[in-house]
Symmetry: C2
Subunit: 508 residues, 2 copies
């Protein structure tokens, strides 16, 4: 596969100019080729093509839609070495991680293919006619689901495959029957183009209408805004920062015709370790926690940014074990220099707050993109008076909040804002406290974990990768798992339709 | 049941003052007693009580929640004659209609009671652990639904029972496990108070926590705004005008923590009569159409405000039959003088537009609240250049759009904005055209009807009473039928929970 540096509109490469480049985070060097910044004309061309081909796409038999998803997966596999090589250059992520992420991305497409083929996602309901009912007869009423229309997808920087061009949002929207226009992440434009080429190849091979997919390349906020405000766009999926997600949400809510924005904006994913679990878990628990903080250089939405413990004699050796583990964690590059800069600034600002002390690991330093894990420490009392401590610092750091008592720990849980996940570590003897804690935490998070770690998001039917604001802009949605398809569907009711007019799934 | 003129906050009557009165629309006279306008302090008291009792309510076993819904229905039945009498005075609606609407309201509560007791609404999913999976084991993952929290409900004027204090939105939110704060409609405050007393009696009898329900009485927009902006309110349900719904939507979207607003704002519910159906249906079709326009003095969200036909020889006698039927329609009072005034103004403005002619029935006139059905006429050509013709005029009028051809009719369908319903009348020989039309209309509406009329919304599992904007602010929702419960729920995932911590519905 060759890179052109162009956006791809309904299968067509556009004229190019070198407006921006990907940067290798490891050596700071520009990567060739240059990429052209898409403009309003291309946005309109992409969305108009999507709208034009929406009916043809959504009305295809479900097995054809499923085969198309599988073919995208096959095309990604065919381009695997190119994809992994380019993503490695653009993100600095190690090859095994990228290989695994690409496999996950292909599996997501397979999962949605199976889900679509099965048809159960249409959640059909039938209330048969009751012609003799008194005082009025009941008509025949049948419910199915229809797709919303063209969907704008904004890829994330931290998962160049799984949350990018051919990632979960694209797979879910295509599975629902919606054409997709991706705004590629400017940190990995080459990876974006290669993935888009794979999708375009699948479109051609499966004879899909070409408007079903377009990729817009660009590094400006303006481009994203134009896309969200285009009248023919019907929904938006986004993974990234709180500022970015909220900006798109506001644009969409202020449209003459508002549209849903599913922005997954990350969170601090608190972990609560009850005293018994701390005493019992000891070094093993400390290691697992330090590893979860360090995983992917802390660049996961589910990175545990807060650890709540209760003052105890064992705390000292627990912290010492974390320190030991963090000191041997590999030094690794963050995704790009900007992320590292933000991490360093965020960490330093947090460290300067009243009542915050350095505890373990290494504070971020230098102008390169390298980082290792670090742990700060504060008291439950400080946490309750300073909401800034609970703000996300994107990177491999975490704050240990030492509470005076279980009661203060519960108070800290009540004070939390919305989260993707919340975790409790407890022994069997602590079930009562654990239940109390979970009853508070279930109002705060989309996923609750018992004796585990939030990093690692399983792609399956029961997954909820979402949560109350500001974890997402729509707490009723998930961006991972089959339930993610519901974001792009709405119910429709057909009244007294003759069999010849009923869609296949309602013909019984 | 005695009227106090007070808001009811968590079971408690408040001090009263006569700030506003209900008006009998038939004679324009004030009805006693006066009602006190709730203020920000009462809003805060109601919402705080709802939040305080949310956990206790949502954690009750589902059968207790179901019994509570049934008891509300029983209490409404016990107050039936008071409710119907007062609603008759406040709305001018005829007794049989009110009796029927109250029965429907009780049936809605029963339907949700059954639905909650059954538990299937929790849509549980289980992905069992796979400890031996390679390269990584899969944890045990289980999904269920949890309620969002306190819900603000705004009642409509046109259904004083079914879309008011104890109506569908309240039933759905309580069924979901959410406390409800109703902002009563100021056109029928006495009916609101009586229904609220019935709910409070059910709260007491069932031993529910009292914060589960409050009624705020008031006639100001400010009150509604305060309620929607209260930080502890988690969702809003509204039935009413487009201006009102959009205003609440904007307030909610601009909150620091945005919340969903489910505003059902009505629509013009177009009916398409294909040439064969017109020729075959003749007078019977004309009568049924005129009756649907006249039903409830045109004060239904599903009132058919647009009729599309194709020029044909039969059109003349079809219009004559409509004229005849409309002339014998009973003169009836609209809900209040303001609605009649708006209807007259809207009708007159529409009639003055270029290319609009009077066709049948009687134009609204006078300062009283009386009205009879009326039909205006225009051409497909005018419809396509003047979007104002498609705007809702709330009342018993409709516009017949005479198209040059089927093609023009399809063009008119493409030009439509979002609708609650869209209807096609066709013969068996017209199935091809009908299919084409429905494929356009299904992108526009929440419910499609074949050879029927949109008035009459069945309360059942398959009903969708919703549709794309501006029919609603959230096309993925319905405000009628069991699916309406989903508006107040979100998915949650529990990872590796021991059986002792799993909720009942996930213990298997």
């Amino acid at each position: 596969m060759e890179l052109t540096g162009s956006s791809i509109i309904a299968g067509e490469m556009q004229t190019t100019s070198a407006d921006f480049y990907a940067i290798n985070p490891v050596d700071g060097e520009k990567l060739q080729p240059g990429f052209a910044e898409a403009d309003g004309t291309l946005v309109d061309a992409a969305v108009t093509a999507a709208e034009r081909d929406f009916d043809a796409y959504r009305m295809l038999p479900l097995p054809e839609r499923a085969d198309f998803l599988l073919e995208i997966g096959d095309q990604l596999e065919a381009g695997r070495s190119d994809l992994v090589d380019r993503a490695g250059l653009e993100t600095g992520l190690p090859q095994p991680r990228l290989e695994g992420e690409l496999t996950r991305t292909v599996n997501q497409l397979k999962m949605f293919a199976d889900f679509v083929r099965d048809g159960a996602f249409l959640q059909t309901r039938i209330d048969p006619a009751q012609p003799d009912r008194q005082p009025l007869p009941r008509p025949d009423l049948r419910m199915t689901q229809i797709p919303l229309g063209p969907v704008a997808v904004f890829g994330a920087s931290n998962f160049p495959f799984a949350f990018s061009v051919a990632g979960g949002d694209t797979a879910a929207a295509l599975a629902a029957g919606c054409p997709v226009i991706v705004k590629g992440h400017p940190a990995h434009p080459g990876t974006c183009e290669l993935a888009a080429q794979a999708i375009v190849a699948a479109v051609k091979k499966c004879g899909m209408p070409q408007g079903v997919f377009s990729l817009l390349q660009g590094s400006s906020h303006q481009l994203g805004g134009q896309l969200v405000k285009h009248p023919l766009v019907r929904a938006v999926a986004f993974t990234g920062s709180q500022a970015g997600g909220r900006a798109l949400f506001d644009l969409a809510a202020n449209r003459p015709v508002p549209i849903p924005v599913y922005a997954e904006m990350g969170s601090v994913n608190p972990i609560y370790v009850l005293p018994g679990a701390l005493a019992e878990g000891g070094e093993e628990l400390a290691n697992a926690y330090a590893d979860s903080v360090a995983l992917g250089v802390g660049q996961f939405c589910t990175n545990p940014g807060l650890l709540f413990v209760v003052k105890s004699p064992e705390l000292c050796s627990f912290a010492a074990a974390i320190e030991q583990r963090m000191q041997v964690a590999p030094v690794a590059p963050m995704l790009h220099a900007g992320i590292k800069r933000n991490y360093r600034q965020g960490f330093e600002q947090l460290q300067q707050r009243k009542g915050i002390n350095f505890c373990a690991g290494n504070a971020p330093k230098g102008d390169d993109c390298l980082a290792t894990p670090a742990l700060l420490q504060t008291s439950g009392e400080r946490f309750l008076v300073d909401p800034q401590i609970a703000e996300e610092v994107f990177g491999p750091s975490s704050v240990m909040v030492v509470c005076e008592s279980i009661e203060q720990m519960l108070e800290c849980a009540t004070a939390l804002q919305g989260q993707l996940t919340a975790t409790v570590h407890a022994t069997e003897g602590e079930t009562q406290t654990c239940r109390k804690l979970f009853s508070l935490l279930e109002r705060k998070a989309g996923r609750l974990l018992y004796n585990g770690f939030p990093t690692g998001v399983e792609v399956c039917h029961s997954m909820v990768h979402g949560g109350p604001y500001p974890a997402t802009t729509d707490s009723r949605s998930t961006s991972v798992g089959t339930e993610a398809i519901r974001r792009f569907l709405r119910s429709i009711c057909l009244q007294n339709f003759p069999p010849s007019l009923l869609p296949l799934e309602l013909q019984r």
